[in-house]
């Protein structure tokens, strides 16, 4: 990836604004949908008292889950103004405006005071940031001691086949993802403790199924106009097939990572 961080964020965020992308991926863009969001938030110990930061919050679907299902207060930030507008509108419609706020910001420069959050979530977006170490450093800084980070993302254990290197590959965040151990090391480098990584490849199987269904639906209803699909989108059905076999061969997968900001005991009272 050669473009600068900001450009990546904006080009990628721009991609997510395309109606076709939402049509294919569903309202919650990332693999696993809101089910995985709930799992991620649970693993990160989100509670009704938590103050949660959702980095790259997109249309605010996860923020709504965090506010309604967990009762937490949530701050979403995203680089796309269009997404943010939708996030704000949907949070108002869900009656959670008092529990949520949305800020336009780049993950590389978070506009929050240090130690101001209990939990930071970053779903399916960390591997898109050009400098993952810097992004994790930003997350570490805004978390209080004892706070948790929760990440869901792709991992890559083998080079991406050429057929997946196109735009769809990028939509699916595959290109440029680190390996599972890469995430572990990056989290440790950023100063996090108790790094835990769990593979959740079921989310990808679910997502591929969904996209297939949607493509079929769109094809039968003749809704896919050539104009709506970007040029380098490739043949979706073939890309999906390649992606599936790549995942099954262990080349890539999806994971959930959690880690803790070190907290020293108030007073260690051993004898």
């Amino acid at each position: 990836m050669s473009v600068a961080g900001q450009n990546i964020a904006s080009c990628c965020a721009g991609l997510y604004e395309l109606p076709i992308v939402e049509q294919l991926l569903g309202e919650s863009f990332h693999p696993g949908g809101t089910k995985l969001t709930r799992q991620l938030a649970s693993a990160s110990l989100v509670s009704p008292n938590s103050s949660v930061l959702d980095v790259a919050c997109g249309n605010g679907r996860s923020a709504r889950v965090i506010a309604t299902h967990f009762g937490a207060t949530v701050t979403g930030c995203d680089y796309s103004a269009v997404n943010l507008r939708r996030a704000i509108m949907s949070s108002q419609a869900a009656g959670i405006s008092d529990k949520s706020q949305f800020v336009r910001a780049s993950a590389m420069r978070l506009p929050f005071s240090p130690k101001s959050f209990d939990v930071a979530l970053c779903e399916c977006s960390l591997c898109l940031f050009e400098d993952m170490d810097a992004a994790l450093g930003q997350l570490h800084a805004v978390l209080r001691p004892g706070g948790r980070v929760g990440i869901s993302d792709f991992f890559l254990n083998a080079p991406v086949p050429d057929s997946l290197d196109g735009l769809l590959g990028q939509v699916l965040c595959v290109a440029g993802a680190p390996s599972a151990d890469g995430y572990r090391e990056a989290l440790s480098r950023a100063g996090f403790d108790f790094v835990r990584i769990r593979k959740v490849n079921w989310t990808l199987a679910d997502m591929i199924q969904r996209i297939r269904k949607q493509l079929k639906l769109l094809a039968t209803t003749n809704l896919i106009a050539d104009a709506e699909l970007p040029n380098d989108f490739g043949n979706p059905a073939e890309v999906l097939k390649d992606l599936e076999s790549f995942i099954n061969s262990g080349g890539a997968g999806y994971l959930v990572a959690t880690a803790t900001v070190t907290q020293h005991r108030r007073r260690l009272d051993k004898q």
């Binding site: 649970s42 009762g71 009656g95 004892g146 593979k199 108030r266 009272d269 051993k270 004898q271």
Partner: protein, 456 residues
Amino acid sequence: MLKRCPEHGAERVLMADDIGYYKLARETFIKTPEQVIAPNTPARYGCPYDCGICPDHEQHGCTLLIEVTDNCNLRCPTCYAGSGPERQTHRSLEQIERMLDRAVANEGEPSIIQISGGEPTMHPEFFEILERVRQRPVGHLMVNTNGIRIANEDGFAERLAEFSPGLEIYLQFDSFRPEVLKTLRGTNLRTTHARAVERLNASGIHTTLVATIRRGLNDDEMGEIIDYATAQPCVRGVTFQPVQAAGRLEGYESGYNCGRDRLTLTEIRRRILEQCPVFAPEDLIPVPCHPDHLAMAYALKLDSGLVPLTGLVDPEFLIEGGGATISYEKEPAVREHFLNLFSTHHSVDSQTDAMSGFLDKLQSAPPQKLGYENIFRILIVEFIDAQGFDLRSIRKTCVHIVHPDGKRVIPFDTYNLLYRDGLESLLLEPLRKREFMPLKGPISLARYGAAKDEPT
């Protein structure tokens, strides 16, 4: 939970603040109950007015308490039994034997008999009582104590040690802070508890530390208590119990207030996970015989600290295997399974990240050195009180108290609410005699300003 009373109206009570975990407890971690050999009382008035055990109670007692005295050398502001120095009734040996025989009749071979009170060590024939327990087919003998006699009396711990193995001290241990101990126990027991643990260490008596947790008082100390427990050779585990609103409940500003003072199991669980990040959420799981009120975590206690085990065990095994018991590690099958986890690690999905981290840590301690002594248990026991009273759940309680009449065995939870001492005639009898009052219409959710829940 929304509940209502024809007399007092409707009320909304927090049962858990973690939907995911609560659902796990209610839907996944459910074991087929095991009942007592024969119930002692008929189901006549309807639950919970028939306790004794009645045929409707789904769970046998995995821990049976025998309260040998009402006397205590403390007068704790928090005491579900309302014990104190002013109460002088010690039960006679004959009566205690009758109670023990009831326990044996109900359970066949009771897995745990807990000698309790009052302060059981205040009983003039305390050691004779232990002997009488020993004469019966009892799996494990537990003594529930504040540790004062162990700490202050030379030779007391040594005499206790004569009952090892098979004896476990259930030692009150709430806090490291004098002001907290003063609020909970009426006096600063800091050095007393430490000295008791020292002596138990010296005598090698298996000990579980028991912390009564009160919101805003000591709920930030659980991690420290676990750290401390890990460093004590005699300590095999820690049990955390949120205050049950029953008996004596003093020291609350203008009385116990459900909305302000109630602390649920899921809140305790999260605080443990926060304060002890070595445990992941999947390491602290529901106990399948009473999943919504008991939670457990097992770990290996090594020189380098705790290595959680529960997350590595297939939940199916805990739900299907072993008997119904609060002390899983006492089940031979479960114990074997835990120990096998590190001797035959190929039986576990070696791809899991937890497992590889686990094996890394194990390299510091060669497997042949590990044994039952290395298994460490964290338990959360949330007793049901009037606030969170749930008829479905109360039938699954498995900590029971043998009534002093020697004829009945009553769940700990209902005993403290309705059956203890004068409560039975004062509270229970009028309730039993009361005519059925039908309730009108459904409970309105809107009245409680319930948050607009999205179907997620």
